[in-house]
Symmetry: D2
Subunit: 284 residues, 4 copies
């Protein structure tokens, strides 16, 4: 028996990049957080501190900024592919790269003026290895709520069950979505916009008997609308809104006054995929 080094990787996390494109007075803005992670033959630095194969994480940060100038940021997916391929192609010891990107959206107020649209962000995870590349797109912190059209009953009951059945409840969640494209040469901005729209539309239009049912509907609609999406993974916290018991005060409460709670929360996670999609564990 010996103690050995297993899987490992390293990189620069959370490089903040704001890229302005100036077309006279009219500017475009993309606001990104970029994380790079590299793997390959990195045993020497772990075992002996020999760094000959270690491209500094500071260099990775510099590369993000230099590439933003040289190549621009067409989309976060394209920018991630450029960066990931660069590190694998140019560093002999590096055989795998993952670039994780978050885009912070801004609304236009004027030719060169913007307001940050807080909350929801767009995400991409790009993985490059052995001449291949995988692109996962997604979004975080999209908070949706239906104030009716949601029920929850007929559930399993055991000795610890006290929950009453609900025939009209608030359903709210903060969507985290990641979907994998079957290919890399697509219009990522358009695809993002359509998948996002499908997720929202399915949430709104599904009369729900469980958050799981809503999750599946969201995935099903997203895959229906964009054939290049091979699978989608959804993480849906159930942001509980409990009706307040107002009977001690002589008041009824027919779905009008709710307490929004932070913790604990239900957490529903699921994948929806095409049955003929080749699995791609490398992408995740």
């Amino acid at each position: 028996m010996a103690i050995v080094l297993g899987a490992n990787r390293y990189g620069k996390a959370e490089t903040r990049l704001v890229r302005v494109v100036r077309d006279g007075q009219r500017h475009e803005l993309r606001d990104l957080t970029v994380s790079v992670s590299l793997a390959g033959d990195l045993a020497a630095t772990h075992l002996t501190g020999d760094n000959a194969d270690v491209l500094p994480t500071d260099t990775q940060k510099n590369t993000v900024y230099a590439f933003a100038k040289k190549h621009g940021v067409a989309s976060i997916e394209e920018f991630g592919l450029l960066l990931g391929r660069h590190f694998v192609d140019t560093q002999p010891a590096i055989s795998w790269a993952r670039v994780t990107l978050t885009e912070h959206p801004w609304e236009r107020l004027g030719p060169y003026s913007f307001a940050r649209h807080g909350g929801e962000t767009r995400a991409a995870v790009v993985t490059v290895q052995d001449g291949q590349a995988w692109v996962v797109a997604g979004l975080d912190d999209l908070v949706l709520l239906n104030s009716t059209a949601s029920e929850f009953h007929g559930f399993a009951v055991d000795e610890y069950t006290t929950l009453p059945p609900a025939t009209d409840r608030v359903l709210a969640t903060s969507v985290t979505a990641r979907w994998r494209y079957a290919a890399t040469g697509i219009d990522f901005d358009a695809a993002f916009s359509e998948v996002r729209g499908a997720l929202v539309e399915a949430f709104v239009s599904t009369y729900s008997y469980s958050l799981q049912q809503t999750l599946y509907a969201m995935g099903q609609v997203a895959l229906s609308e964009r054939p290049e999406v091979a699978e989608i993974r959804l993480t849906l916290p159930n942001k509980h809104h409990f009706p307040v018991d107002l009977t001690p005060f002589g008041l009824d409460n027919p779905g009008e006054v709710f307490v929004a709670t932070d913790r604990p929360y239900g957490l529903i996670e699921g994948t929806v995929l095409r049955d003929d999609a080749a699995a791609a564990p490398e992408a995740w």
Copy 2:
């Protein structure tokens, strides 16, 4: 010399309230965080633990929910006035109440469907005392950016100054604003909307030589547009976007690639007011 009790207050902080108004299938939603603080003759509980004059904070929370049902939430300012007056009017020992409210905005997606608009929130601080009431309204986390039309130079220089003058820089801030109304009987939703619009418009349209200049312009426009606003206090962190030095890579950077930094940050705070407005320290 003796050790004595000084100013004191107590209450329930951060009660989360979601109020739904149902008009058939079409619902309205208001999402609030409400904090109550009360003061008066509370020496007994401090000195001896005699709680006869202490209305439990749990009761204050219950009151928020019961009032939301009984009275609805016309605006956070009106709701705060209702609550503040209630506590002062009904509790013999309580002579002062402050209700601090945050409203979390949602966008409508359908008759009963909503998406939370993250980031910016609306605020109100209502103070009731001696038959009087003061209303301060405001907003938090409104993040604005101009990618040009900002300079900073001609500043004071001492032996620790290394900053180069800037003739074209990014100007970005996260606005915290609080403005005091001279009266209480106004259309708070309309006033909020107009003051917010004035702040945004002034930020966008001011060619800026300092964030202080932008601050004053924002306040000046807000007061110009709404005569019932007596004063406005602005807190503007300078969210620095520094141009990245790309010359080591043979690249120039004419205002295109920026690093957005978290800390440290400039912090500009100022009040703009009418010179004939009576001071109202009680409101703050």
Copy 3:
């Protein structure tokens, strides 16, 4: 009637400074976050963008680092006094300075090795004006809990009161304390340590009928132990630990199983002071 500029100030917030003192192999470490705010005759920059009187916030940051080298960090209070006096003394337009400092504690693991003691931090607020200086010291996020020796009953009851009386409850809080020294030439490290100890001791040893009673006891003991403390302000959120109702499962719960909740929370704020202490509103 005219619209005019009111109170204003500006500075660099949250400069992160780690100061190492090397005595051969044995090192000392002080880890600070420093915020500077300056005021004076700053109308020009607000009204016209003329920055001749504006020392850049970048310079303020540089000064923090240069002073850390030149003078060391004897205590955060002393360091704040040095900085505050420097700005007022050297900038003609500046007549007021406030330096707000947080110290992040580390435990020693070896001659040059440390583990950060998360959670609680030490604070100082130093104000310099007109040849005078005020020093407020304090701490944040000191979380204390008594699992018994706390009751709450005999409180005011109205139509919205449903809280049952408690004769044995958990009492927990996260202490924010700020105390003002009557003078500036004292051993700030020793005083901090003793006041902190007094606060903890009073929390532990007070049999409590209300968190207000505990607050007063904490302030009373702190002032008793350190005569140079003129007043202390305490902010004590009531971190509720509610006993879980286990009767549906055929179990009793005599103070054994609790749910710790985040929101809402009681919030108790109060000042304890010497009756012969001159008020010092400038210090806060």
Copy 4:
């Protein structure tokens, strides 16, 4: 081609539990955050909203509290095993359970008085499936710093490299560790304490030429000291402390004044394992 449901799971996340054990006046306290996730045959609720196989997440929360009373919390690992086995054993549709636990440490101040030790937390991840169980233990947010005994040079250089070599730097990290036990019937509290001690000791005593080298040393020592640990995974952000350039102010800076930065940061991740340890992907 069809769209189908893939992997899925659900549960109650972040149930906050404080368990007091009373032995007369002397109390013991364990403060936990518990998340449960269950999987099995859950297609019906996703596809049709039929919840017959769905044990409510509310019931899972209740079970956490009831078990805390009935069985106590011997260790978070044992408590997780009890909970995980319960759900798999009693719910026909459930074949897999994961219980993720965080323990928030408190220091004793008196018989029934405690101060929360902020920052570092203890973790456990327990997985139950097919009559088997896997236990992963760990810790989060253990922040360690060596103010010397760290170098970084001899690294790969490309056209984007500007980092100068360092022969004496601050090395600081916030340790996230997860280690897998090869068995379930061990003294988890003792093992945790020893592995934690080994990680700290290795960080302190390793003269480091890269954070990777330190990572490997930490894992190597941990596995050497506890034979029941099969593998350990470490996530080490490089919390950069950059020396401040004081030369513009005529000052040198021989490792004394540092700026601690938040973002970006290096991120080093690696596994150290026994070469004869059977892989256990189910545990993670």
